[in-house]
């Protein structure tokens, strides 16, 4: 799979573990069809940290859920492929797997750290049982003693004491619960970890500790991470590459430094300019206008009604994502 022939955002470092191509996820209702994800393509390489940023409704979480095959009706994957690299050098299209085949992929190959850790742990089961269930669902011959040993090791990896295994979720703080979720997600050494706003419910000090833990365990097991979020500060600090989503499309993808130093898409430019910093006070630059309705999107470039650099062709022609700088892709008629 080479970069030039398929023309989709990628980088040349590391071997490819996941390739999402022309992914479409639609929600159909009697009011019409909402194209929540509309032609998203990107590749993920081994050990890479990729960020997906966008405002509510931009399709960033839907993209993550589609990779996990957790889209529920009326939502549906309408098209595209999600190729996961196998050990033998082949790859499997995750969209073609049946439910049982995909169950085996979840956690073993692709694991997800959910948004609200506090809500994802069963309140009536001890932490140990979460690990036991997760491991037994994939490995039939493993003994209870082995599971306990592995649980202790996993808990230590995320900076918790092993006796946390005996506790119930309500006995843990929010940060500890989020660490448990990270430990579960790496239990089977997946190739890809998807983290959907893993620290949105936590305060800054705990947030930094959790993200550093995630970074450390990710490096240790060599997994790639997709970090979904809207906090540009968090993404700037964590990811290697950043994809900016707007109304279901990727509008810019590039190395995180390039995107912050030279944002190419006007939306990215406004988004970065709107961020509060500790450099200046009392200066506010919001992104003007509102996100478009997905049921009734504008013609041409979806950002054109809000774009300060709008040109006539923007109102009719949808810009394609193209590589305008080395490994820096943008969907805009300016380039």
């Amino acid at each position: 799979m080479s970069t030039t022939e398929t023309r989709q955002p990628t980088t040349t470092q590391g071997s490819e573990v996941l390739r999402v191509s022309d992914l479409h996820v639609y929600y159909r209702s009697r009011l019409g069809t909402a194209k929540a994800v509309d032609g998203v393509s990107f590749t993920l390489r081994q050990g890479e940290r990729f960020g997906l940023v966008g405002e509510s409704g931009s399709g960033k979480s839907t993209t993550a859920l589609a990779i996990m095959r957790m889209i529920t009706p009326p939502g549906q994957i309408e098209g595209g492929t999600i190729l996961l690299a196998e050990k033998n050098g082949q790859s499997r299209d995750l969209t073609k797997l049946n439910e049982e085949q995909y169950r085996q992929v979840r956690l073993a190959d692709i694991a997800m750290i959910p948004q609200g850790a506090m809500n994802s742990l069963n309140p009536v089961r001890r932490i140990q049982e979460v690990f036991s269930d997760s491991i037994k669902a994939h490995e039939k011959s493993v003994s209870d003693a082995q599971i306990r040993e592995r649980t202790a090791e996993l808990l230590r990896m995320v900076g918790l004491q092993e006796d946390v295994a005996r506790l119930y979720p309500h006995e843990l703080s929010g940060g500890m619960k989020q660490r448990v979720c990270i430990a579960v997600s790496i239990a089977l050494q997946p190739k890809v970890i998807i983290a959907d706003e893993p620290t949105s419910a936590l305060d800054v000090v705990v947030q930094r500790q959790i993200m550093q833990t995630l970074g450390a365990v990710q490096q240790r097991i060599g997994a790639a991470v997709i970090l979904v979020g809207h906090d540009m500060g968090l993404l700037a600090q964590f990811v290697d590459r950043l994809g900016v989503m707007y109304a279901g499309k990727l509008v810019e993808v590039g190395n995180v430094r390039d995107v912050f130093h030279e944002p190419l898409h006007p939306y990215t430019q406004l988004l970065i300019a709107s961020l509060p910093t500790l450099e200046e006070q009392g200066v506010f630059r919001g992104v003007p206008g509102l996100a478009p309705s997905l049921l009734n999107p504008p013609q041409g470039c979806l950002f054109h009604p809000r774009c300060p650099k709008v040109m006539p062709q923007c109102k009719t022609i949808v810009p394609e994502l193209q590589e305008v700088r080395p490994e820096h892709w943008v969907a805009c008629h300016l380039y």
């Binding site: 000090v205 947030q207 930094r208 009392g282």
Partner: protein, 347 residues
């Protein structure tokens, strides 16, 4: 000097004080002046007591000890006219722009009820005009907003309607508890700008409660940093954020993820012990267990607030030298907006 709001020695204890208990607020005293509109931030992590403070100030909860006065009337015993004045002049903006709406009512309901309750308008037409004006003041177009149900509006629009509602009553003070934490980054700036504009153009004072130091720095004049119910550091926001003196404030400031990939996250974090502090009884400084500079005396008695410079005080023994202990009202170290306006802070 006329005082709008006076928080006098307020303590809130949850649980039985004889047994295991949590001190959510520990002898907090501050005032909000009625003369110049102010913008005060209250920051702290989860469990620092900031939301408890908001609940007490809004009269939802009576503190264990201490009093809150609004224009000289004790808020928790006031009734009749004084209570009516308080409910008219002090408004709240909450965190979640989804939960404050009843999904079965059009958003108009949120705006027409206060108009009727407080008899703001003599006629229906006048009421409509008031509502339209207050929507315009927060950057919404009345014709695109009224007559809709909450689910038809975006989170940012809904949050701005709650601001419009607060504005409708021409309050003197708005207590905003995490007003932008659930709003997208692109809208956050717009809403904060609206709040700052209301502060400057309509002379409304704000108490801005948040965990986000960056936005606190952006909009406020003065800041109160709470740690487990006690004031860790307070004073002029520029001094506190740019040059934090309490180890806890230093930890908070260095933990902010800066939107700049070249600046390493937490590179100047002092090696503060991780995790939330445990709840066991502590006679000394509450931060001692996490503090990298802890000294024996920190565990003996809690440090008072030391005023090291005119516009700042920190509760840490490291700042004792050359400082005077700050007693009572912490507002003494606040820089007034009128002063700040002439200084380096305005752009």
């Amino acid at each position: 000097m006329s005082t709008l709001l006076e928080v006098r020695d307020v303590t809130q204890i949850f649980g039985n004080p004889e047994k295991a208990h949590t001190v959510a607020l520990n002898h907090l005293t501050f005032t909000i002046s009625g003369e110049t509109p102010s913008f005060t931030a209250v920051v702290g992590e989860s469990g620092s007591g900031k939301t408890t403070l908001a609940r007490i100030l809004l009269g939802f909860q009576k503190p264990t000890s201490g009093e809150v006065f609004y224009r000289g009337a004790n808020m928790h015993t006031a009734h009749g006219k004084a209570q009516h004045t308080f409910r008219h002049e002090v408004q709240a903006i909450f965190q979640d722009p989804f939960e404050v709406y009843n999904p079965f009512y059009k958003v108009d309901h949120l705006l027409t009820v206060p108009v009727a309750k407080f008899r703001l308008a003599k006629s229906r037409a006048e009421g409509r005009e008031l509502i339209a004006n207050s929507l315009r003041a927060v950057g919404l177009r009345p014709e695109e907003t009224l007559g809709r149900y909450p689910h038809q509006l975006s989170g940012g629009q809904r949050q701005r309607i709650t601001v419009a509602r607060a504005l409708l009553l021409r309050p003197r003070l708005i207590i905003a508890d995490e007003p932008v934490s659930m709003v997208d980054a692109s809208l956050r700036a717009t809403i904060l700008e609206t709040l700052k504009k209301l502060n400057q153009d309509f002379g409304i004072s704000f108490l801005y409660i948040t965990h986000d130091l960056t936005t606190a720095y952006q909009v406020s004049d003065n800041i109160i940093v709470l740690y487990r119910g006690s004031v860790a550091e307070t004073g002029d926001v520029t001094r506190v954020i740019k040059d934090p003196q309490h180890p806890y404030t230093q930890l908070l400031v260095s933990s902010i993820p800066q939107p700049n990939p070249d600046r390493r996250w937490g590179e100047n974090v002092v090696a503060a012990a991780g995790g939330a502090a445990n709840g066991h009884a502590n006679h000394g400084c509450l931060f001692a267990d996490r503090c990298p500079y802890v000294m024996p005396r920190c565990r003996e008695a809690p440090p008072p607030l030391y005023r090291m410079e005119p516009y700042r005080a920190a509760s840490c023994y490291l700042r004792e030298e050359g400082a005077t202990a700050l007693e009572g009202d912490i507002t003494q170290v606040f820089r007034e907006q009128a002063l700040a306006a002439g200084g380096e802070r305005m752009h």
